[in-house]
């Protein structure tokens, strides 16, 4: 019997393999192809922006120069990092809460069409409730701690996870389902051995959408609890003070966190879903 060519680990292309084997030199070499293009794009966009502000003579109270934003950011780098970490913590906590609640709800709804019909309108209703309208209420209900912030971030993130999880839990290979039925697997065993693993690619796709939403949720929550810190609070304060360079610095920080959060989820996804066709067909 001929041994089939064992494909190289398709997951986490060069980066993780580099990390496993060699030192930092090869890490740089491995990460650079992924980090360089977005950096070049960002620098080019920054130069265009700078030239436009310069040539059109835009007031710094309307649009700040990127160079001024960068200066504001690096002058107070420690501050932006620590505020960024607060926001990240709210976003990740809210995301975890929202995603777990959505997965639990989706498991019930995938189990029964009746439950889906009963609960989905409620889920949509919660989804279309304007966050800005209820955010102050959350503060009244949950106090001034982390709780209202987690709740707001969770509320904005659960929906994409819910919808994708319902589809993912139902989209199982009918032949595998036949086999499990033929060995008399219980609904819970079918869920554990077939439905949940089948839903993972859907869940990760949803998590990537929800991760960016969770940052928005965290910022909105911090808007309404400004004075307690976080990038949302910084944005609110600098907006009042008309310090647009610091406001934009907070936005840039937020963007960087958003990208890193997405990269983090992608890495976990590639490690976890090495069996899935999406990681087998798209590489490099």
């Amino acid at each position: 019997m001929r041994e089939p060519a064992r494909p190289q680990s398709p997951v986490l292309p060069a980066a993780a393999r580099g990390l496993g084997r060699f030192g930092w030199g090869s890490v740089t070499r491995a990460v650079l192809p992924y980090a360089l293009p977005p950096l070049i794009a960002a620098v080019l966009a920054g130069i265009t922006w700078e030239l436009w502000v310069e040539l059109a003579d835009v007031s710094k109270f309307v649009v700040p120069r990127p160079s001024a934003v960068a200066e504001a950011l690096f002058d107070d780098f420690g501050f932006f990092i620590s505020e960024g970490l607060r926001t990240l913590w709210v976003a990740v906590g809210g995301l975890a809460l929202g995603a777990l609640a959505a997965l639990a709800l989706a498991s019930l709804m995938a189990h029964s069409r009746w439950l889906e019909r009963a609960l989905l309108p409620i889920a949509i209703g919660i989804k279309v409730t304007p966050i800005v309208a209820v955010a102050p209420l959350f503060v009244i209900w949950f106090g001034f701690g982390w709780e209202p912030k987690f709740a707001i971030a969770a509320m904005i993130t659960y929906f994409p996870v819910l919808i994708n999880a319902i589809v993912g839990l139902r989209d199982v290979d009918p032949r595998s389902l036949d086999f499990l039925r033929s060995v008399r697997a219980s609904p819970w065993e079918v869920y554990r051995t077939l439905r949940l693993p089948s839903a993972l690619p859907y869940l990760f796709a949803a998590l990537k959408i929800a991760a960016t939403l969770s940052l928005i949720g965290a910022v909105i929550a911090e808007f309404f609890t400004s004075g307690q810190g976080g990038l949302g609070s910084v944005i609110a304060i600098e907006n009042r003070e008309l310090r647009l360079d610091r406001l934009f610095a907070a936005v840039v920080m937020l963007a960087v966190i958003g990208v890193l959060l997405n990269v983090g989820i992608s890495i976990v996804e590639r490690l976890w879903l090495s069996w899935h066709r999406s990681s087998l067909t798209t590489r490099g």
Binding site: P4, R6, D178, V183, R184, A185, E189, L194
Partner: protein, 284 residues
Amino acid sequence: MVQASAQSRSKSAATTTALRLHDVSVRYVGGRGGELAALEKVSLDLGAGEFLSVVGPSGCGKTSLLRVAGGLLTPSEGTAEVLGGSPAEAQEAKRLGLVFQEPALLPWRDVRSNVRLPLEVNRSATAQPAASVDELLHLVGLTEFEAYRPHELSGGMQQRVALARALVFGPEVLLMDEPFGALDEITREQMRYELLRVRDSAAGARKSVLFVTHSVAEAVALSDRVAVMSRRPGQIKAIMPIELARPRSPEEERSNAFLDQVDRIRALLRDELGDGFSGSDARP
């Protein structure tokens, strides 16, 4: 003369019955509310230790027949009995194994873990595994591939995994639905004798096999008897005993005795395809 000895053989095989279909009809409700009759009053006995193949034109209800026998489909009329009880009881007691046309392996599990799957579900059953996973992997020649994922294996190897998985509890009755249908010609021929070898081994223990195929040569090479089905709605048109000594070898497929049997069955099928009515008087 051939006919006479066949009679005596099938009589001795029928002293105990592994599987009995009695007047089974299956009707599906069609898309426009009409009914589609897949099987019409089919009766079939599979003797203990017998290898019985079912051949017929595509769409004649072969797969429906097997699904009824496997308890995956409740017949509109008639009964299915496996080892004296219902198919569900036979499955609960782990005395019935199924192999489908598609291997239906779980892509996130490696070979060993796929073979183990039946041991992980419905554990309340008192049934004990008949052979260790190691023995089964050795039996189907996949010992070296135990850590491979299904997508890293060829189609033939995947189907060996499915076979090993079906044999974990050493079921007395094996139902196979075109298990080699998706394989290339050469692998397919090789797998026939592989299957016969497995069936002659200790873990195979001369199981009763109901085997659905659309390849006449495959049916003749494997079987003690071949049931020929008519076009939809499927009925058993004739049951042909196969007069070939065991163990069988690939070389025999070129012998006149083998080709005679194939021709006789092909003639029956040709009647069925060429002229839908001419076959009706050939029913035993």
